[in-house]
């Protein structure tokens, strides 16, 4: 066994300063990821999944501990750790093509000729089935299409690690299934390491080699890691009846809803309740008014 893995998170903790003192979001997160591995992070909302992803991306800096990719410590963001953002984050003044072009020009400056860049951009848009609308701007296409362009942009950077923050959350079920399939295909070809945040248990089991289940915050950490040993290529229809597949689903569900059922202490409960009340009050008021 080699001493250093492809991607390694060691003792990662992070504290955010708040007026009431530091807030510890993550505590001692340890994770080793092999090259070409597909890892999902799953957990209740607010457990710090996105924070883990942002630390790997280099957008947040761990308070203690750190991330090492291919023997190099991660200390700033970079295209070798491309991010597919939760809310697509396309530049609204550029067309889909131009959005991908911005990334390609930046990453392959001096490596690809103009014509090569063009065909590479088109190839990546093809992967996410966006060639028909590649000259449209983000405000002219649907939310799902925007997310596809976001994925194409990340793929076009040819990253060592692809970081995806609930990439399919905004998509309709059919598009989501389609994109999950193409993501599996792409990953098989490019063999890049993927870390994906998801809320969707089926998605996690279908796509992942390992599912990292996180405990509830604050001071969240890795609870359990489930190895998914289903043969690839995976077929969603065949798997629906597969006892092994259903066993994995059961494992994740029982972690989320039995072991890590959201049990909050009184203080936390109060603040959460306040937020929830505020969210509920608004429509109520409208309905009464």
């Amino acid at each position: 066994m080699s001493l250093s893995k492809h991607l390694e998170l060691t003792g990662v903790s992070i504290e955010f300063p708040t007026p009431k003192g530091p807030f510890k979001a993550l505590d001692n997160v340890n994770l080793k990821i092999e090259k070409g591995e597909f890892v999902s992070l799953i957990g209740h909302s607010g457990c710090g999944k996105s924070t883990v992803l942002n630390i790997v991306a280099g957008l947040h800096k761990a308070t203690t501990g750190g991330v090492v990719l291919e023997g190099k410590e991660v200390d700033e963001p970079g295209p070798e750790r491309a991010v597919v953002f939760q809310n697509h984050s396309l530049l609204p003044w550029l067309s889909a093509y131009e959005n991908v072009e911005l990334a390609v020009k930046q990453v392959f400056k001096g490596q690809k000729s103009r014509a090569e860049m063009k065909s590479w951009i088109e190839h990546n848009l093809e992967l996410v089935h966006m060639t028909h609308a590649m000259h449209k701007r983000p405000d002219e296409i649907s939310g799902g299409m925007k997310q596809r362009v976001g994925i194409a942009r990340a793929l076009a950077m040819e990253p060592q690690v692809l970081l995806m923050d609930e990439p399919f959350g905004a998509l309709d079920a059919l598009t989501r299934a389609h994109l999950q399939d193409s993501l599996m295909e792409i990953q098989k070809d490019l063999n890049n390491t993927v870390i994906m945040i998801t809320h969707d248990v089926d998605e996690a089991v279908l796509l992942s080699d390992r599912i990292v289940m996180m405990t509830n915050g604050p001071a969240a950490t890795v609870g359990e890691i489930l190895k998914v040993e289903l043969p690839r290529p995976r077929d969603r229809i065949a798997l629906a009846d597969d006892p092994q597949y259903n066993h994995y689903r059961h494992e994740v569900l029982s972690f989320l809803y039995e072991k890590q059922r959201k049990v909050e202490d009184i203080d936390q409960h109060r603040t959460v309740k306040k937020v929830e009340e505020a969210a509920v009050e608004l429509p109520k008021k409208r309905a009464h008014g």
Partner: protein, 334 residues
């Protein structure tokens, strides 16, 4: 047979109702689009006419719509007469010079400029040139400075008190200072620009650069964190980040600032021309006020309407530019 006829009748009656419906909805829509503004205008003219009759000044009755119409015609006639006199003057000069040269070939012809009184329309032209030049200079200063301030928090903190201090200063307070500085600094034997033009110009620039400056700074500093993350992940260089992310994303705010600035520039200019007796619409209004003939109030009213119309047109032009150059097509049309 009869049943067929009945269905036919039914169909035609349904079709008739349908076309009537679309017809009436079309009428309703065009009534809303055209009729209501027109109605507003007519009501306004009636109230103006009736109200004007009630106001008696030392220069006679307050001008109503009909007097304003007459004065508009008379201003046009004045303008045409002045132009005719000008061309007559040049004709005579040319003829005289030709005669002198015919008599004595060594004679060097003297060409003198026509020095007639500027007409109402000349004053409009002067005002437009001044306001656009002043606005241009303001933009030239405000946009780059706003970008610097927006990008640099420390610079923003340092300059913010100064901006807030000078922003509310009235043009009339600046005017004496600008006048004195221009006459002290701009001393050349062969001036390219009239001093009065420069005074108006700088007063306008000083007053109208603030909205553009502030809006640019806010637009630049308020680039969405998501887009900044994209820029970080792509490791864009500082220059590329500014050109590709910051500037495009602040274009809508910059245009909003420019529109506000142009509106202020136009208002400031009229006041400055009036106070400083610099050529332009402001001077026209002041001259008519000093003139004190029975036509004066009517002429001032024409100027008021023209000032309003030009201000409106300038704003529309800015809006069209905004639509053409800004990616955010939801620009406010108010």
């Amino acid at each position: 047979m009869s049943s067929i006829r009945m269905t036919l009748a039914g169909v035609s009656s349904i079709a008739g109702v349908k076309s009537n419906d679309t017809m009436s909805s079309w009428l309703k829509r065009s009534a809303r689009a055209l009729g209501l503004p027109l109605l507003g205008l007519v009501v306004f003219l009636m109230i103006w006419q009736a109200g004007a009759k009630q106001i008696h000044t030392s220069l006679g009755e307050f001008p109503g719509p009909s007097q304003v119409y007459q004065q508009t015609l008379s201003l046009i006639a004045d303008h045409n007469a002045e132009r005719a006199r000008e061309s007559d003057f040049y004709d005579r000069q040319e003829k005289r010079n030709a005669e002198r040269i015919a008599k004595d070939p060594s004679y060097e012809a003297k060409i003198r400029e026509y020095t007639g009184k500027p007409t109402f329309f000349d004053q409009i032209g002067t005002s437009l040139v001044t306001v656009l030049a002043g606005f241009f200079i303001a933009g030239l200063i405000a946009i780059p400075l706003g970008i610097c301030i927006g990008l640099n928090g420390a610079l923003y903190s340092a300059l913010n008190p100064i901006i807030q201090l000078f922003k509310p200063v009235s043009p009339l307070a600046w005017l004496p200072l600008v006048t004195m500085v221009v006459s002290a600094v701009y001393v050349t034997p062969d001036p390219l620009f009239a001093k009065s033009f420069l005074t108006s110009l700088f007063t306008v620039s000083l007053c109208c650069l603030w909205p553009t400056l502030i809006n640019t700074a806010v637009g630049v500093s308020a680039v969405s964190p998501d887009l900044q993350n994209v820029s970080k992940v792509l490791r864009l260089s500082w220059g590329t980040h500014v050109v590709k992310i910051v500037l495009p994303s602040s274009v809508p705010m910059i245009f909003t600032g420019l529109r506000l600035s142009l509106g202020i520039a136009w208002m400031v200019l009229i006041a400055a021309e009036m106070l400083a007796q610099n050529p332009g619409l402001g001077k026209f209004v002041w001259d008519e006020f000093q003139n004190g003939s029975s036509d004066s109030l009517g002429r001032i009213m024409v100027a008021v309407l023209v000032i309003g119309l030009i201000g409106f047109l300038l704003d529309r032009i800015m809006l069209l530019l905004q639509r053409a150059f800004s990616w955010d097509k939801k620009a406010i049309t108010r």
